[in-house]
Homo-oligomer: 238 residues x 2
């Protein structure tokens, strides 16, 4: 069984949601059957979207430092519950000897395995404007569909609120209704699946109960299951 | 702001519940305002109740090793979301230079601050049979009330299920109704508050909605708030 290092804190609630998914999907009947997870929830990592849009510092040095701390602590494989941070994955993989689970690659595999062709993407402006998922999907002969700029702004406002203060997950948050509206629009423009590629959106309570015209693939759930399969190979084959 | 090391995995779902409470109670508006948490979720720690009752190995060496790994990784204060494991706290505090938050002491403080006198205890057989909370409470002139052996067996069965397979938190778990029944019995024997001193019980969905004849104090919530106050002193004073 591999010790899993989790590069966390982006944001902290999203990390907790990801851990919950990993634990729920682990085929354990006793505490002692669970995975050894070491989680570094370091909030000093600069905002990823701000870095992509040129409005903030590069998070690469902090991400590399966390990865190195986790490797030094005994991690044998790394996973990072933040989609946008994968834009800086190169800084991590070149700083350590252990592998980093590749979220876009895992999500593309799942979308293809499920037989979808035109995934509609729901993520932050950083992730989408840099083409992180679009590039991986086009390389796999999928046809990604992204929100309009207006839809994207509405989605970011629903995550962050008017003053850049994260309001997602709080009472009265407009994130669920905004996500449903944008997913419906993506479907009307041809998407055959809505793919959530933002861990803050993945953590939304009631996400699986939203009424959408197309199925939903949640990147955090896909990668949580994959993390267990990779770290705990005997269990996943049963 | 202090870096908090979390000695986790006892059980993993209880650790996630505790992290969720820490994050929810942190006065943060951006990811960057949150605490730096390093969590070592090591499932190799032997069962605590089994160690106390003489049916299993001593978890002290593993607990000390986790604490040392967290200190080496940069933790400045330790917290351990497992009540029974505090029976082995001495092994931790003598292995590291950094402080370990003392759950029984924090819970006693909260019970006294709220004006209760006769706390009814809901915890595992390991925690209760070793007198961990009773000793701390009697030292503070409180009069703890514990379940009968029959009630205690019912509570353990509700947590672990018939074959020692943890069933708490699963669909159809009898833990909520058993907890409510035992708390009601404790109240009828004079308890003026029900104190949950098992992190698996603390993590029960709907715990705060249970209809009980007395108020409920949840050790995990008390210590989560205290963790934030200790690690993040400026925020807690606002």
């Amino acid at each position: 069984m591999l010790t899993v290092g989790v590069i966390g804190g982006m944001g902290p609630a999203a990390t907790v949601d990801f851990l919950r998914r990993v634990i729920a999907t682990t085929p354990a009947t006793r505490d002692q059957d669970h995975l050894h997870l070491i989680i570094d929830n370091d909030p000093s990592v600069p905002d990823r979207t701000a870095a992509v849009t040129g409005d903030g510092p590069d998070p690469s040095p902090q991400l590399a430092a966390i990865a190195q701390r986790l490797e030094a602590a005994g991690a044998e494989i790394l996973v990072m519950p933040c989609n946008a941070a994968h834009l800086f994955a190169q800084a991590i993989t070149s700083a350590v000897q252990i592998p980093l689970i590749n979220w876009p690659a895992e999500v593309v595999d799942e979308v293809k395995r499920a037989g979808f062709r035109r995934p509609g993407l729901l993520g932050t402006t950083g992730t989408l404007s840099a083409g992180l998922y679009q590039d991986a999907m086009k390389g796999a002969h999928l046809e990604p569909i992204v929100p309009t700029m207006q839809e994207q702004d509405a989605l970011m406002d629903a995550i962050y609120g008017p003053q850049g203060v994260k309001t997602i997950g709080t009472k009265g948050s407009t994130a669920p209704s905004t996500l449903a509206r944008v997913a419906t629009n993506l479907s009307s423009r041809g998407a055959d699946v809505a793919v959530v590629v933002c861990t803050d959106l993945s953590a939304l309570e009631g996400l699986d109960q939203l009424e959408l015209p197309v199925p939903l693939v949640n990147a955090a759930e896909v990668v949580a299951r994959r993390t267990v399969a990779l770290a705990y190979p005997e269990a996943s084959s049963t």
